[in-house]
Point group: C2
Chain length 439, copies 2
Amino acid sequence: MPNEKKINTKVLPGFLELLPAEQLLFERMKAIIADTYESFGFIPLDTPAIERAEVLLAKAGGETEKQIYRFSKGENDLALRFDLTVPLARYVSEHLNDLSFPFRRYHIAKVYRGERSQKGRYREFYQCDIDIIGRGRLGLVNDAEVLAVAYETFNNLGLPPFAISISNRQLLSGFLENLGLSSLAVDVLRIVDKVEKVSPEATKEALLDLGLEEKQARALIGFISLRGAGSEVLGKLKGLGVENKTFARGVAELEEVLCYVAAFGLPAAAYQVDLSIARGLDYYTGTVYETKLLDHPEIGSICSGGRYDNLAENYTSQALPGVGLSIGLTRLFSQLLDLGIVKAGAASPAQVIIIPFAEAMNDRALTLARTLRLAKIKNETLLEEGKIKEKLSLAAKRGARFVVIIGEDELAGDFLTLKDMESGVQRSVSEKELIVALS
Amino acid sequence: MPNEKKINTKVLPGFLELLPAEQLLFERMKAIIADTYESFGFIPLDTPAIERAEVLLAKAGGETEKQIYRFSKGENDLALRFDLTVPLARYVSEHLNDLSFPFRRYHIAKVYRGERSQKGRYREFYQCDIDIIGRGRLGLVNDAEVLAVAYETFNNLGLPPFAISISNRQLLSGFLENLGLSSLAVDVLRIVDKVEKVSPEATKEALLDLGLEEKQARALIGFISLRGAGSEVLGKLKGLGVENKTFARGVAELEEVLCYVAAFGLPAAAYQVDLSIARGLDYYTGTVYETKLLDHPEIGSICSGGRYDNLAENYTSQALPGVGLSIGLTRLFSQLLDLGIVKAGAASPAQVIIIPFAEAMNDRALTLARTLRLAKIKNETLLEEGKIKEKLSLAAKRGARFVVIIGEDELAGDFLTLKDMESGVQRSVSEKELIVALS
């Protein structure tokens, strides 16, 4: 029959929809992230995707307001969340007295941004966030823990070599104050945030255009080029002779955080100090992180986060300092897939496909399926009537590594035929042997 | 500091938001459902929450159109999905040639219905669906498998005694045809669908009001009262002397499905035939199911589904017969919680909380935390500076069963103190003994 389209069934531009094998890979990555977050005792949270528009737009700037999906229903002015941090701020403010602090939550869910559609930008995408929120106070050891969670997450995902860059927002602010450039800080930070994407010359040009003197621009570029092991960069920072309180606080905080990071047992190769990272200007106030795959800098940061003085100033007068990070999983996943760094495997979660050769073997097949499920072995039984050839072809399409065949001989002889679809090797096994082979 | 509200941070009416302990319970139930679905080889699917409005409204009636969250962005007329079946129909139509059939997918996600807000009705809620879709054809054994999945799901959830009711839509249709009441079928089905909520007298009254003769109403009420074990009800059905093709097909299909259900090994007490269940008139064409908790009929059906001739007639001319079921988890969860059938436990996923008495013990605590994570033991280390009393109080609030204390004695003596928070018993253990105790 022709597949005549009556209504456009294509997924909307900017939305990701996966076929089974890719979906299974995506789910596995999502589960590894969730498991890692939970292994540190982070609590799962699930807030509505729809919020009051006034909640979402309380702090948001013009760009967010343009991108947000906003609509009304009855008398309510509603919108879809564009991140998981604003809903967290609302949640913590609302449930302040029912939570125990530090409140450590993770949230893995879709967020919505109606951006101009372009390659690598999604309008619906998963964020995988952790945050630690203090009530009134929150020690710097938490900044190190968040970094340790990021490290273990990427390690558990089995990603190729990566490095987490760490800095402290106050270093650059203090350095600019010291140069008498505080009034230009916003514009300077915007230029610095792009430093990896453009040449040093272009960065310098942009800084001169902004009104910086040649000497100031050179000093600034020298400063943001500082990168390396913690002790090395800290030494250089202390040697700069910058006399500024903000700067000094940045140095002290960075030193303390790095000391805690070492206590978390991270290998030295996994992280570095990098003064060029600036991250979301308005938001972060202390520690900032970014993570890059060393062999794939073109992907950009795969995980970023940092410390903020006050999570929820728009919703509560209780001071709520916090530190967190976010992995944009949808974008990361599609980039890893495009680059061949991750590869889709089977198109079914079944570890084994059970094939009864005819209806007379269905009962045996179903008893076996139940036994395997009890042994935590996921399976599918091909019960739909059809030729053996069709059933084997379907099993191959499902992509399961193993197939169990039950024909007349097997039924009569009380054995099972186990076929390894990878090697093509077939052998007769008992039920017990089968469970051992598949466990 | 006073918690002065600046913006309304309450969750919107009709939306569910949980505190940590409840959320963890909810996540556990969701995971059990997903695991059970996967144990039968169902493939996870994740489609966008936003669809083209024309896709969602292709088949929908007036009620859906009123309830739907619809909005535009740029030139697009968009809406939030109100179920997971319409997106499935679009997905299968779009990816027809990339999927292997029967296509077996599960989908656990939120759907949106802007209903009038009332107790027990949610505007955002989780559906947990499975469907088996055939390309052109789909055997009745699949109807039995879906029922078996429902049984194992509720069994794995540890719910109190439940029974799955099964019927076949063609039985009632054929019975009505035989009475010459086909033209009134829609109205009759609407009345029948409410039969559990009103008295038999009220049902009869409603049928008489519709224009049925006394004799017809009595016959119909007798018919929909048939309920019990498969063989028993099938015998009664065959003895009714109804000469009608649709009816005969219904009997034959029901008999075949029940035969397969037995092959799936379901205990007889877990299911029954119940001719009163009617289920979503327009949609189902053969087998229909509902599930009730035997001691809590007031909850209504906790899971329903059935067979449909054609999943996606609005999107493709390929015939796609299917069978599926849906658990409305948000409503089920809140009812089980209200009735005390499920109870929230710990407010943290951590199996153990590690308490270093002072900063000098942080390194030891962090090494232990890493060792426990490697042993798959989720843990949280209380690193935030504070008094011992505060730390113990926080551990109690987290609700973890076990606490490990590391003080000066433990550090000097190279042992750990394990405290069982339930019994209050404390004992000294080695790292190995700790892992054994917690595994």
